[in-house]
Symmetry: C2
Subunit: 223 residues, 2 copies
DNA sequence: GGATAGATTTTGACAATTCAAAATAAAGCC
DNA sequence: GGCTTTATTTTGAATTGTCAAAATCTATCC
């Protein structure tokens, strides 16, 4: 059985590898994600390489092996199904559940995972719109436009909020920016770094380009 | 924050202290419960004593302090509420849930605990009839008769099954011996070490005195 | 009252995970 | 090409939790 530390390293390696064209994860990025000093990441990556869970390319970075990816996807599936459970069944605040899931993802057995999945009706995404890996180990990695990059003056549907910080999620929630919400970009002022939004029957409000970039959107078919 | 190991030691210390008249837990019993060699228990108990969670009486045993008891009750509450959730909501096998709760009890925050408690309707006992400590830290330690000691030929209600092993629980379940079930002792043969039971509309069946001692019963008021 | 058996403690060691700080490699810049 | 900056690795040490085996108590039994 993978230890909690091993599960966390592999999960973060997967998330970073997904955002990298060639799947190579620099050591420093992993260390930052894990909130450890670089030397600690090096030590752990070497141990993971010895267990066949990653490939270590010295001074370049690391890659998940098939075995490592399998473990990482299982942990990520647990994380996101737990978040969905905490929000949909226990009615917890979506800004809080990431921290809870960070612990629970290591304590849930595959048997409990299956029951949770059934209870929730086999959801495809978690409360933030993050895709839930399937039991078979496939992960929907579709990329969308964001409020920082999408067309203006057309109706949009929020599909994903890619920031786990409680502050940001509370802000998003306060403005109704949850997956499924409808909105459109009224104006984008690049020099000022501002995006102005409006939701149906709502007042226009502004957010920074950086914040807008964390909200993924699709054209609103029904809009 | 107490580590997982510390939480487990304190929880087992509490369970052993509850079954001891003066609250003194011999080192060997703790070591056996924790499945470690005696020296390991000594080392840990000294560390717990340094943190003010137990009192170490060398060569005699240990006692929980108020602080240690508080932590232990919180872990036990998590354990038993999780078991209840797994059986009542996720519909898992009551023989399986102890092992699952053994992990989950360390991953559940107090916030999640509160929500679970509300979802379950503030239960007083878990699926095995084990009392769930209250938020305030009280633990119902009522002692009942067992099938090995109770009167014969009167209607009984099962109130508790005090064995966490999956094998025993599966056996009990197969004979309908869950808390709430009604049965009576047909015969008790001490030399043979056998107790013969019968459930309403069921065939008589036998079990050992040792097994019978793990099933707690009360007179069946409605019987 | 001393030998003995059983429980407990001590000692020395190891695995896992981490940090601080020094050493090294790579990449980019005159 | 040598110099500088930055990322990575190495080294030495600490912490937590564990075991094996030796040492030490303590209660009990002639
Ligand atoms: Mn985690
Ligand atoms: Mn999420
Ligand atoms: Mn446990
Ligand atoms: Mn129980």
């Amino acid at each position: 059985m993978a230890t909690i530390a091993v599960e966390n390293y592999l999960k973060h390696a997967l998330l970073l590898a997904e955002r990298s064209p060639d799947g190579l994860v620099p050591m420093g990025e992993l260390a930052t994600a894990m909130e450890v000093v670089p030397g600690t990441a090096t030590t752990m990556v070497k141990a993971l390489a010895d267990s066949g869970l990653v490939l270590h390319e010295p001074r370049r970075g690391l890659r998940l092996t098939a075995a490592g990816r399998r473990v990482a996807l299982n942990v990520l599936r647990k994380h996101r199904l737990v978040e969905t459970f905490l929000v949909n069944v226990l009615e917890m605040d979506w800004a809080q559940v990431h921290a809870e899931a960070e612990q629970l993802e290591h304590a849930i057995s595959d048997a409990v995972l299956d029951r949770l999945d059934a209870l929730l009706g086999h959801p495809a995404t978690d409360p933030h719109g993050d895709p839930i890996p399937s039991v078979e180990g496939t992960l929907n990695s579709a990329v969308y436009a964001t409020l920082a990059t999408c067309a203006t003056e057309i109706s949009l549907r929020v599909v994903r909020v890619t920031d786990q910080s409680a502050d940001f999620l509370t802000f998003a929630e306060a403005h109704g920016l949850r997956p499924g919400a409808v909105a459109h970009v009224v104006d984008r002022n690049l020099p000022a770094g501002l995006v102005t939004l409006r939701r149906p029957r709502g007042k226009p409000f502004a957010l920074s380009l950086a914040a807008a970039g964390r909200i993924w959107v699709a054209p609103n078919e029904a809009g």
